[in-house]
Amino acid sequence: MELLVASAIGILTAGGIYLMLRLRTFPVILGISLLTYAVNVFLFASGRLTVGAAPILRDDVSGYADPLPQALVLTAIVISFGMTAVVVMIGLGAFLGSEDDHVDDPKGPVDDLAGGGS
């Protein structure tokens, strides 16, 4: 089981990184989403894997799943939605403004240092 979870995280990460290195905004956003899954599952797994024991207190149960990573990951999932939405909006705005959805700036950086003399 541990092997499955660890390899799943590894595969999610690899897929995420590969897509993140693409040249257009949409696959990059998908890649970041995949990485988000990987990170969330990774954090969740830091409570170690527990099958069939939820962190809901019961009188007749002694073993529970680790609640802390779950709480952390819960907010992380919701926040990551907000962040994905912002990134998508920025990508969309850039595309609508320039009809171009490349992530790399073909012109290179603006040389702000050139005007230092005056």
Partner: protein
């Protein structure tokens, strides 16, 4: 008055002039003057204690773990400088009120001035050297603002920048030096450091610390080779020049050398570095000053020269030198501030500061003439004026000092410098005031109103009083000297006298004055010689250095930062993996402590689906709609994984978030191209795959190894499990952590979520107002539109489902404290219910029925959560302490009421508002002008009688 108040007053007072600006110039200056006066009086209330030889202390702990506390100390030296800063500050404020013209923003000026005053008082009263550094940097910043006060003048801006670069870099060096010093002494408190002379001077790091601290002092006090910024800073308004660049800020470096005298002075290194720098500065400044035609430039270089003189006196390392230095600081502050103010008066009245265009002002401005002449004669070292006394002491000390084993060197150079010093003083009097009255002044000069000449006149009274009766100043100067020496040396017995007999210093003085007169007589030939002589221009050198630094950083940054996001991402990934690999190969790995759990066929099937979805996504990502479906499958499998591994809350959250994320991406895809074209080369794709596989293997290895090992320490989860029911009143530990144990985190998170949603809204608004709007309105969809945009089946279905979904949301919310659920999940569920209405019946129909704007929903959520947290203050508990009780309302069963529920309500509202505002913003982009907005929930409604419309086809646009 407490020292804390004295330091805080100017800072808080700095708020007032800006507010009072509208009330008029007099009110603005008046309030500034009052603030300064209050601090001045506050300082004077401490005078009896200081005179008694005691040290006043004030202390507030700030960051005790860092050794940084807000400790202030007032002894003789601190008092002396604070007196100069606040006293001359008062005169400057009165003077500036008349100096600034109606076009100048007075509130801004006085705000900067008070900020500077506060920072300066802070420097001289700090006991903690880290605190001193903070104030030190503040003086650099506020002086930058003051020098560049006339933003329209390029000289002002350049001068301000140069001053900031030079003093700022010096300040950086000094931070390093102070940190070393603090490490050596084991404390950052001056009072401790000053006791540890032997320890500090024996340390091998003494020399680096000394050089670094001196760099800070020399840049601030314009010592050679950093003297060049001061004349350029003279582009500032004259009150600033008089205040910062003669009386106070440039003395900060001197103050620090005096302050550190007991620990740093006396070593051969100190003597060589400080005396040499001072001597060179003194001679160089005096010579350049003589040949400057701008009155303020002349005074600026003369200030450089006098600062050099004081530095040299401190450098000799003797008690007598320190005393002479202190005395000269007092005298210089009086006559030089008076001279600067006189220069300002001349500039103000004659509209020029060029000495070549002046002359004969004696008859036209008799009052100014009197003030300036007395001050200048004092500077030249003429008896019966205070400058004479300290100059005699300086010459005496120079006579006793041997540098580089050449006994004649220091006396000869000191006399040479004094000669030029006397010459420029005589030139100032002779070429500006004496001579015939001219008829070509830019403006008709006359004496200004008393508001402008009274402040310098007051200073000149001091000049004469001390000059005639030196015994008046003697006890005070000796008190200050005692605190400089700090018990490392005895205050000299010598009395301040006008006549010492026929001592060498007198001969040197006579040579200087006579030579000065001779120099003035030979001024024109000397000027021709000076103009013909080649000499390096400091400003050109400085700018070349700045340009070289800029070129270097450009060469370093631009190749790395070339605008390619993919490149940064690849570099970042490789760097992280490499760091992890290094840790892996160098660290030790403990044996596995957990045995692997068996995996059933269902688990393997789930894993296979996830892997297949990811693989498919990577292979087929160019078809964007397909990619979206595949990533939906990935999200779904992750949710199922959460269920399987005992995290029902996570599963519900992931599932609902997945729904809204997919809707969001679909909305975005509506505008984006449907396919990603093939652009990268095979080689590049292989490279990316290599990076990706490395990253994936690294996370796999890391996860696999820690899943098989127990935590190194017992996790704090045990505490949460044990206290959730007793302390938080809930049996769903995850929810109790969110709303109770870590409620503050959650509070921050809903705020972040709200900000993200507002950001999306703001970006949409910006897009819709810009040129994108026209493009959006004229956009032709690349896919055929459906015949019925708002199909009846979907409308009916979502209407029926809506109450059910709301009920589910309510149920999930309500039970969240004890069963899986809570505000986050309920918020997402309710959002989905609302989104369904948008999807079914269209944007305009839904928003027309929207009663509360989503911004308000976010705000009310954050407010509810915040007020719940604040509520606990009223019962004397910290923020967000929760309480709960059990109630029973017949006919229901007993149930629990917790304040955490109110907090969860805030979370719920914030989530609903944020999700809806984001999605709504996206869909706003899709509205088009030529699409008539339907006022009906669906396109075809059997119950509606449709009259044949004039443009029946318009709804089917694009079909």
């Amino acid at each position: 008055m407490s020292l804390l108040f004295i330091v805080a007053l100017p800072f808080f007072g700095a708020l007032l002039p800006g507010l009072m600006n509208a009330a008029g110039r007099a009110a603005c200056a008046g309030v500034t003057f009052t603030v300064s006066l209050a601090a001045f009086i506050g300082l004077l209330t401490n005078l009896p204690t200081v005179l008694a030889g005691e040290v006043v202390m004030a202390r507030v702990d700030w960051m005790p773990a860092l050794g940084l506390s807000f400790t202030l100390m007032l002894d003789g030296l601190g008092f002396f400088f604070a007196l100069l800063i606040l006293g001359i500050g008062l005169l400057i404020i009165a003077y500036a009120r008349h100096y600034l013209s109606r076009d100048d923003h007075m509130g801004e000026f006085f705000t900067y001035l008070l900020l500077f005053q506060g920072a300066m008082v802070g420097v001289v009263l700090s006991d903690n050297i880290l605190l001193l550094l903070v104030f030190w940097e503040l003086t650099s910043l506020s002086s930058f603002l003051l020098i560049g006060y006339w933003k329209q003048l390029p000289e002002g801006r350049q001068g301000a920048r140069m001053a900031l670069i030079v003093t700022g870099s010096g300040g950086l060096a000094m931070i390093a030096g102070m940190l070393i010093l603090g490490q050596i002494a084991g404390s950052y408190d001056l009072s401790v450091i000053l006791q540890n002379r032997a320890l500090v001077q024996a340390d091998p790091l003494y020399l680096p610390a000394l050089i670094l601290i001196l760099l800070g002092c020399f840049t601030k006090s314009a010592q050679f080779p950093f003297h060049f910024w001061l004349p350029h800073a003279m582009a500032a308004p004259t009150p600033v020049s008089a205040y910062l660049h003669s009386a106070t800020m440039v003395k900060a470096g001197i103050y620090l050398m005096a302050r550190m005298w007991p620990v740093l002075a006396g070593t051969p290194e100190w003597v060589v570095i400080v005396t040499t720098a001072g001597l060179v500065t003194m001679v160089l400044g005096a010579v350049i000053a003589l040949f400057k035609h701008d009155l303020k430039a002349l005074l600026a270089f003369s200030t450089v020269s006098h600062l050099g003189l004081i530095t040299m006196l401190l450098g000799t390392g003797t008690a007598f030198g320190a005393m002479a230095a202190m005395f000269h600081i007092l005298n210089h502050a009086t006559f030089k501030a008076a001279l600067f103010m006189s220069a300002g008066i001349i500039d103000h009245e004659a509209h020029t500061r060029d000495i070549r265009r002046l002359g004969g002002l004696r008859r036209l401005m008799p009052v100014t003439f009197g003030i300036a002449t007395l001050a200048a004669l004092s500077m030249a070292g003429i008896p019966l004026l205070n400058g004479f006394l300290s100059k005699e002491m300086m010459l005496d000390e120079a006579y006793q000092t041997t540098l580089y084993d050449l006994p004649w060197l220091v006396p000869a150079l000191a006399t040479f410098g004094s000669l030029f010093s006397a010459a420029y003083c005589f030139r100032l009097i002779g070429h500006v005031f004496l001579g015939p009255v001219r008829d070509d002044y830019p403006a008709r000069p006359h004496d200004p109103n008393p508001g402008m000449w009274l402040p310098p006149a007051l200073l000149v009274v001091l000049v004469v009083a001390i000059g005639v009766a030196p015994f008046l100043a003697e006890p005070f100067v000796k008190l200050v000297t005692a605190s400089v020496l700090g018990g490392e040396a005895v205050v000299p017995q010598a009395h301040f006298k006008i006549w010492h007999g026929l001592v060498p210093a007198l001969y040197m003085s006579v040579i200087a004055v006579a030579g000065g007169l001779l120099m003035l007589a030979l001024f024109n030939p000397a000027l021709r010689l000076w103009d013909a002589a080649p000499r390096p221009e400091a400003k050109v050198i400085f700018e070349a250095i700045v340009e070289a630094a800029a070129r270097l950083s450009r060469a370093l940054i631009l190749p790395l930062h070339d605008g390619a996001f993919t490149r940064y991402a690849a570099i970042g990934t490789v760097a992280i993996v490499a760091a992890g690999f290094h840790a892996w190969t160098t660290g030790t790995l403990g044996p596995p402590t957990r045995s692997p759990q068996p995996a059933g066929p269902v688990t393997i099937a789930g894993w296979a689906m996830l892997v297949a979805a990811v693989g498919g996504l990577v292979l087929m990502h160019r078809n964007r709609l397909l990619a979206l479906m595949l990533i939906g499958i990935v999200g779904l499998m992750v949710s199922i994984g959460f269920v399987f591994f005992s995290a029902p809350d996570l599963a519900m959250t992931q599932f609902t978030v997945e729904v809204v994320t997919i809707i969001l991406l679909l909305l975005a895809l509506n505008f984006l191209p449907n396919r990603t074209p093939v652009e990268s080369t095979v080689l590049r794709r292989v490279r990316d795959a290599g990076v990706a596989v490395a990253g994936g293997l690294a996370t796999f290895g890391l996860t696999y190894h820690y899943l098989l090992r127990d935590p190194v320490r017992t996790p704090i989860s045990e505490f949460h499990l044990a206290n959730s029911y007793e302390g938080g009143g809930g049996s769903n530990v995850v929810n109790v952590i969110l709303v109770d144990f870590r409620g503050f985190d959650t509070y921050g998170e809903i705020i972040v979520l709200g900000i993200a949603a507002l950001l999306i809204y703001a970006l949409t608004e910006t897009l819709l107002r810009g040129p994108v709007r026209a493009r959006l309105l004229n956009r032709e969809p690349d896919q055929p539109r459906a015949g019925d945009v708002h199909p009846m089946m979907m409308v009916v279905l979502t209407r029926v489902i809506m109450p059910v979904v709301l009920l589910v949301g309510f149920y999930i919310f309500w039970r969240g404290h004890n069963e899986p659920g809570g505000g986050f999940i309920a918020g997402l569920v309710v959002s989905i219910a609302v989104v369904m209405q948008y999807m079914a019946s269209g944007f305009s129909w839904t928003s027309a029925r929207l009663r509360y704007p989503y911004h308000g929903v976010i705000g009310s959520g954050v407010l509810t959560a915040g007020l719940t947290g604040i509520g606990s203050w009223f019962v004397g508990k910290p923020f967000l302490t929760s309480d709960f009780t059990y109630v029973r309302i017949p006919p229901f069963q007993k149930f629990e009421l917790a304040t955490a529920l109110l907090f969860d309500l805030g979370v719920f509202l914030a989530v609903v508002g944020a999700v809806m505002l984001s999605l709504e913003s996206f869909s706003r982009l899709a509205r088009r002008a030529h699409m008539p907005e339907s006022e009906y929930p669906m396109d075809i409604d059997p119950s509606r009688v449709i009259l044949p419309p004039p443009e029946a086809g318009s709804v089917r646009e694009g079909a």
